[in-house]
């Protein structure tokens, strides 16, 4: 079968090797296999005149084997055409050295990720510094506030999130009521379901669920928006025009979320309690009137306030991380995806961590 591309015959003094047919990307693998079987016991005469069609892959193959043969036996090339010679010379004069490998050892990878994490932390502190500087500058120059952008982001991150927040908190309220109902029914303490639902939603779950949904929804959007602007050099363009990106991009988003998130938490509290109410009436037969009057007795305002205090803090965490990760995007498309993921993961983790810190503080203060 290999006779299609090469044939050889041997006489007393030498081996005559004929190349023929098409030597290109398609056929090179077959020719390569065939060439490996050429006997190298006598001087070689290689006739290439019958190679009618060839490309640089074919010529490179020829060059590789010519050099390999030459080390073992004398080789004579005959019958080459002008264009074959030209391409051979071009490829011989244009051959780069070995391309260095980029592999890294295990230890190097660990070291690298430590350095990257340290760099992230340092970068975030730097970012916060810039952010506060911009904030204090704004306090003395209140006219610089980008009202239009801020309102736009309140709409995007707040108003447009109402439906998903309503659905999530309604379902969470229902689930809490269902789970609580089973346990409380054992003690005949049915009415305490109101305490359970009311206090847990308002103090803990409302703020946390809202913050997590918004971290996934708006935090990721902030990273992707700013990242895309960085890739298209819009941010560099802004800087050259003297528009500080912290004023134009970061502060409007931070302010918008600080306004929107507490409002969303308030909304989530109401819908979540309503979800609990629906579940209690279905599961325990507690009427709406009973539920609401009990809620009035047990749900002190302090629980509501303690939950609400978390709102602006969570909002700041989400917006700051979203923007920070956006600025970290380097100029390739893959980087947007990586940083958006990192932004959401970091924001959710920090929201939960800060929620735990709040719990400890509240408990220590006896609230």
């Amino acid at each position: 079968m290999d006779q299609e591309y090469i044939v050889w015959e041997q006489n007393k003094e030498k081996t005559l090797l004929y190349g023929k047919g098409t030597w290109n990307l398609e056929t090179v693998p077959q020719i390569e296999r065939a060439l490996k079987r050429v006997p190298l016991d006598k001087p070689l005469v290689w006739d290439v005149s019958e190679i009618k069609v060839f490309d640089s892959a074919g010529v490179l193959l020829f060059r590789t084997f010519y050099q390999a043969f030459k080390k073992r036996v004398p080789v004579e090339i005959v019958g080459y055409t002008q264009s074959q010679k030209e391409m051979y010379e071009m490829l011989s004069s244009h051959m780069s050295e070995e391309i260095p490998q980029r592999g890294e050892g295990f230890l190097a990878q660990i070291g690298k990720s430590v350095i990257v994490t340290m760099g992230d932390i340092k970068g975030f502190v730097n970012f916060l510094g810039h952010l506060f500087y911009a904030f204090f500058y704004l306090l003395t120059h209140p006219k610089q506030l980008r009202i239009k952008e801020t309102v736009y982001h309140i709409h995007q991150s707040g108003v447009n999130a109402l439906v998903i927040i309503a659905m999530t908190s309604f379902l969470v309220g229902m689930v809490i009521a269902y789970q609580g109902a089973v346990q409380l029914a054992k003690f005949g303490a049915d009415i305490f379901i109101v305490d359970t639902v009311g206090i847990s939603i308002v103090r803990e779950l409302g703020p946390m669920i809202t913050a997590i949904v918004i971290a996934g929804r708006s935090g990721s959007a902030y990273t992707a928006e700013i990242g895309a602007m960085k890739i298209t050099e819009e941010i560099s363009a802004m800087r050259t025009m003297g528009f500080d990106p912290y004023h134009f991009l970061v502060l409007p988003r931070v302010f918008a979320l600080i306004v929107a998130l507490p409002l969303l938490i308030f909304f989530a509290d109401i819908v979540g309690i309503f979800g609990g109410l629906v579940a209690s009436s279905m599961q325990l037969g507690i009427s709406f009137d009973q539920f609401v009057s009990r809620l009035n007795e047990v749900l002190e305002v302090k629980h509501y306030i303690l939950g609400m205090i978390k709102g602006p803090v969570f909002a700041f965490i989400i917006a700051a991380i979203g923007c920070f990760r956006g600025f970290q995007v380097s100029d390739n498309t893959e980087s947007i995806g990586l940083h958006t993921t990192a932004s959401v993961v970091n924001a959710i983790f920090l929201v939960i961590a800060f929620d735990a810190i709040f719990s400890v503080i509240y408990t220590e203060l006896g609230l």
Binding site: L25, V28, T64, M95, S96
Partner: protein, 259 residues
């Protein structure tokens, strides 16, 4: 002269805006063919239509004997291996190194051994005048001119018969641009390829381009060699070739026409 690309009566509309209204042109084998025109004249769109990235609203394009309107999937895939495309900004895959970018089609479409692929990649890298160490870098680590060269190396990887270049010399320094031109002519002479390019570069036009089409007012208003095109009295041709900056370059051509 056999025809490699033929466009017949191309009509392209974006919404209500008509970009092309009956564009005809012919690219011959082994030619370096340029598409010229002002910004927004639809040069890039025309090229995108030739490489099956956009379908014209009317008309036919025949590339290497295939009618793009009726071509089947398998044939289209085959055709895509026979051409190489250099995008204006390189369009190198950002998650792959330069060497991997050049290698990717060889890996997917041929049965070449790893050693052979490496050799081909190295020869392409050297051919476009890049250093070996560039092969290990990612596109984001390269300058604009290096990206152009790397992208040309990638376009040449499958030994194409037809090469599409979208503004190959834009963003290159003058010396780099002339070297790039020289490289294109060398490749054409040696590998017998046909080159279709969009360009504004007056030096490329006067030194390496064999024939060209001038796209203006939704039509090809002039087609042919530089001398033939210069005979046209269309306002764009006048403006482009006979303004105070370009006049000098083409003066000798005018003299030939008007002795």
């Amino acid at each position: 002269m056999s025809t490699v690309i033929e466009a017949k009566g191309i009509v392209t509309r974006f919404g209500k805006r008509t970009i092309h209204d009956g564009v005809n042109l012919k690219v011959g084998k082994n030619e370096i063919y340029a598409i010229l025109g002002e910004s927004g004249a639809g040069k890039s769109v025309l090229m995108r239509e030739m490489i099956m990235l956009h379908e014209p609203d009317d008309g036919e394009i025949i590339v290497l004997g295939h009618n793009l309107r009726t071509i089947g999937f398998a044939q289209a895939q085959q055709l895509r291996r026979e051409w190489g495309v250099l995008f204006q900004f390189g369009a190198l895959y950002s998650s792959l190194t330069i060497a991997e970018n050049i290698e990717v089609q060889l890996k997917e479409y041929t049965k070449l051994s790893k050693a052979m692929r490496d050799k081909l990649v190295r020869s392409k890298i050297a051919l476009v005048g890049l250093d070996a160490h560039v092969g290990a870098l990612y596109p984001s680590e390269l300058s604009g001119g290096m990206i152009k060269r790397a992208a040309l190396a990638r376009a040449l990887a499958m030994e194409p018969k037809l090469l599409f270049l979208d503004e190959p010399t834009s963003g290159l320094d003058p010396v780099g641009a002339r070297n790039f031109d020289k490289l294109i002519v060398e490749l054409r002479d040696m590998l017998g390829i046909t080159v279709v390019m969009i360009t504004h570069d007056l030096d490329s036009i006067s030194h390496i381009v064999d024939r060209m089409a001038i796209l203006a007012d939704k039509h090809v208003v002039a087609e042919g060699t530089l001398a033939e095109v210069l005979r046209s009295t269309h306002p764009f041709v006048e403006e482009f070739f006979k303004n105070e900056y370009s006049k000098e370059k083409f003066e000798h051509m005018f003299n030939k026409e008007h002795p």
